[in-house]
Point group: C2
Chain length 487, copies 2
């Protein structure tokens, strides 16, 4: 026999990752009673099995790489990273996978918490399976689905018995494998290849396509390819895994077969082959949506294709942009929409309005923490072409910037901005090179701010920083040393 | 008997530092015949005795400091910097004090060069004392004075015989002194104390006032003070040097006396006590200006107080902003003014116009490459108060930003933005902390772009970068956790 509890809140949030936490924070702050439902750790994938632990592994790797390239410091770098220390640092950054601090934050923010597995049970209804029985929740105003995504792993012969790594295991592993095979060529694959190589693993990357990082500018992917190869990573392009089997005997190794019948042996096998929505079993069918699908939304983050405007989908689960910071941004937009609808206020859904997640379409920033770093915002050349946009493509060799030479005398890097020639504003930027992560926000401000080029000339970069590439890019454009593509 | 040569150009540029080079580059590119006069090295103070060599000394120091603070990397850092390697790196960054490459660039840019000491000799006239005799130059349109600044050294008993260091010697020294006394508390003093301490010198800093870096926000100066002390630098505030004497005997040490009669002994004595204009002997008196004074200009960089609009002063020499990048910016403005006046075009001298160096007044960026770095643009709290402006002061502890914790788990830093509450735009920003140098340009773009706060919310910082402090600052302002000062 189970106890049944029934409670009513203004807002129910399914999932306490960064998106869910930020929706709840803002609706609670606005005076709407808010409950969060979470079946795992409060803080979500990002805090425990993605961005936070991956960056904790990568920062030492990148700092060490920088040190090996700078005269006067290079001679200090005698051995590999101190792997146990890096893993202990990673453990500290994820609070030992303990969410007590986050739970206390929820309480301090006046947000109720139900620990258990929540499922939608018709409009504005959620049922949560908890250890103590079922909790029935009713939302006066909104249900926000923030359940995120999980690693998508292909169905392959033998895989069930292999105990593969996904992004979770790759970021939380407690030992450095001697050999690691990474399947995939995207951000998770390249970042984890970088990290584990630096920690001492022999790494092979198996990529279906002919290049790494298919969504970034080619020049950026090429720089990462070059550095990975130099670091000793074995890159196999145009390759697929067709089967994998872990031996039960001593050594406990995995035998992997590729599409061309190549046989490889490894200690761990990481599948970084994309993401799937965590929507299979959250009751989407009870409101006419399809379990297992990503949830379609409009710019206010309201789910489309159902009656009413009570259901929101925020973060990875809406498939707009699978990035923590963009989920937090959407959370702010969604919570403003929830709050203003609850108050009967009109929404400002014009581009860049308070209730429009316009940046999701026009100004998404991303940093890939590989060697070198890739920092990108807005359009790339390829997606401008796909969207049928006319853009001017302005390139500059970052290695020629004085501030970059100061950073690393043999600096290798490249910058590109895309300019809308009609409006004379920057619509995209990509920087690839060591130390460009913090440079990105200048481009994000320029793109989201739609600052006219004539004004951008007055934004003087400090000498000698890498940021001075902005001056060089503007000069290159002024001198008409660019190409026009599209339309 | 000397040969005399007389030549006429559209534009004469006195001084081939960054300001002069950039004026000449643009007027020559616009089709105006242009000559540059230089008595020392083409490339100027910045390239050989200031920014470039100082950053070459500082980058290894700062990278080493970062490495000592990051788990997994810290154990690698066993000894001090490899000082000979750092000095050799510095030598390479200044091309061994050889300006051949720069001379070739001038030629390729179709700019004439006269090597010698130039003096104005009445309106549009310049006479150059060269090894081969006097060269008389006449300018059809403009003379641009870009002679820069030099270290200002106080007249003190004994100093003539001491062979003191100024910024020139401090950036070009070929040996690490065992003991170094730095007089001054500004940017040169703190940067050079940081560099030489990291290279192994025992460093004492003698500061007249009660704090370092009087022109930056107090919190930023305090962080640098703390780190300098921790590194073993002896800071003496409220102190002055009253006399100095170098012994001629073995050891060749300098005896220094302070105002309170303290006696110190050192191997080198650096005076970083301000700058003076290089205008004593450039013929200013022939056009009614005062030799030895800074040259006053308007926003087009045209000298005021003389007849006509043929004389320009660009860079340090006009005393607006003593920073290379701002000199280059002024050079662009000045050359546009020269070119358009030569063509009979009207000038756009409105704020942020093509012929107005507005950023000199409203958006000057600067990075101080100390540990930690200080990056600042636009107003500080103090100068907003001095200017009688009302501003909202928004603070955030950088150590609480996830990206900063990733950068250094014990990150110490602080960020402040100043908001004009009426226009709701950012008018100033200061970041102090490791790794903030490239973060600065985001603030420079926001300040120069005058982006409304409502739009700035759509400029999403990438997680987990230090740039996410922007989100925290905006949240802090939204939650009204700021103070209002002024007016």
């Amino acid at each position: 026999m189970t106890d049944e509890i029934a409670e009513t809140y203004d807002v129910i949030v399914l999932g306490a990752g960064p998106a869910g936490e930020n929706v709840a924070d803002r609706t609670a702050a606005a005076g709407l009673s808010t409950v969060v439902v979470e079946s795992e750790l409060i803080g979500g994938e990002c805090s425990y099995w993605a961005c936070v632990p991956s960056k904790a592994l990568l920062r030492p790797a990148l700092l060490r790489a920088e040190a090996t390239r700078l005269p006067g410091v290079d001679t200090m770098v005698t051995g590999p990273l101190d792997a146990p220390a890096v893993l202990a640092h990673r453990d500290a950054m994820v609070s030992g996978w303990d969410d007590q601090g986050q739970a206390e934050w929820l309480e301090s923010a006046n947000i109720a918490l139900v620990r258990g597995f929540g499922r939608i049970a018709g409009p504005r209804q959620v049922r949560v399976e908890t250890p103590g029985g079922e909790v029935r929740l009713t939302a006066r105003h909104a249900v926000a689905v923030c359940t995120g995504s999980r690693a998508a792993v292909p169905a392959l012969p033998g895989l069930d018995g292999v105990r593969i790594w996904t992004s979770r295991e790759a970021t939380s592993a407690r030992r450095v494998p001697s050999r690691l095979i990474v399947v995939g060529g995207g951000v998770v694959a390249t970042e984890m290849a970088t990290a584990w190589r630096a920690l001492g693993s022999r790494v092979t990357v198996v990529v279906r396509g002919e290049r790494l990082l298919p969504r970034v500018e080619t020049f950026a992917a090429d720089l990462v390819t070059e550095r990975l190869r130099e670091s000793g990573v074995d890159l196999r392009f145009g390759a697929t895994v067709t089967s994998a089997e872990r031996s039960g005997g001593p050594g406990d190794r995995i035998d992997v077969t590729l599409g061309d019948d190549t046989h490889l042996v490894t200690d761990e096998l990481l599948f970084a082959t994309g993401r799937a929505p965590r929507t299979e079993d959250i009751g989407l069918d009870t409101v006419g949506l399809t379990p297992g699908d990503w949830i379609d939304i409009d710019d206010t983050c309201t789910a489309t294709g159902i009656a009413g405007d009570w259901l929101y989908a925020v973060g990875d689960v809406n498939h707009r942009v699978l990035l923590t910071h963009q989920g937090k941004y959407q959370a702010r937009i969604a919570s403003a929409a929830i709050t203003d609808r609850a108050r009967g206020n009109a929404l400002d859904t014009a581009d860049w309005g308070r209730h429009a997640s316009t940046a999701d379409r026009l100004a998404v920033p991303q940093v890939v923490f590989t060697d070198p770093e890739i920092a990108t915002v807005g359009r790339t050349t390829e997606d401008a072409a796909r969207a049928g946009l006319e853009v001017d493509v302005v390139d500059y060799d970052l290695g020629r910037v004085s501030g970059a030479m100061q950073y690393d005398p043999a600096y290798r890097g490249h910058a590109r901005i895309l300019i809308d020639p009609r409006r004379r504003v920057v619509v995209g930027a990509t920087f690839a090179g060591p130390g460009v992560a913090e440079l990105l926000h200048s481009a994000t401000v320029a793109v989201a701010g739609e600052i006219p080029l004539d004004r951008l000339w007055h934004a003087v970069p400090s000498f000698p920083t890498i940021s001075e590439v902005w001056l060089r890019l503007l000069e290159t454009y002024r001198d008409e040393q660019h190409s026009r593509v599209g339309a």
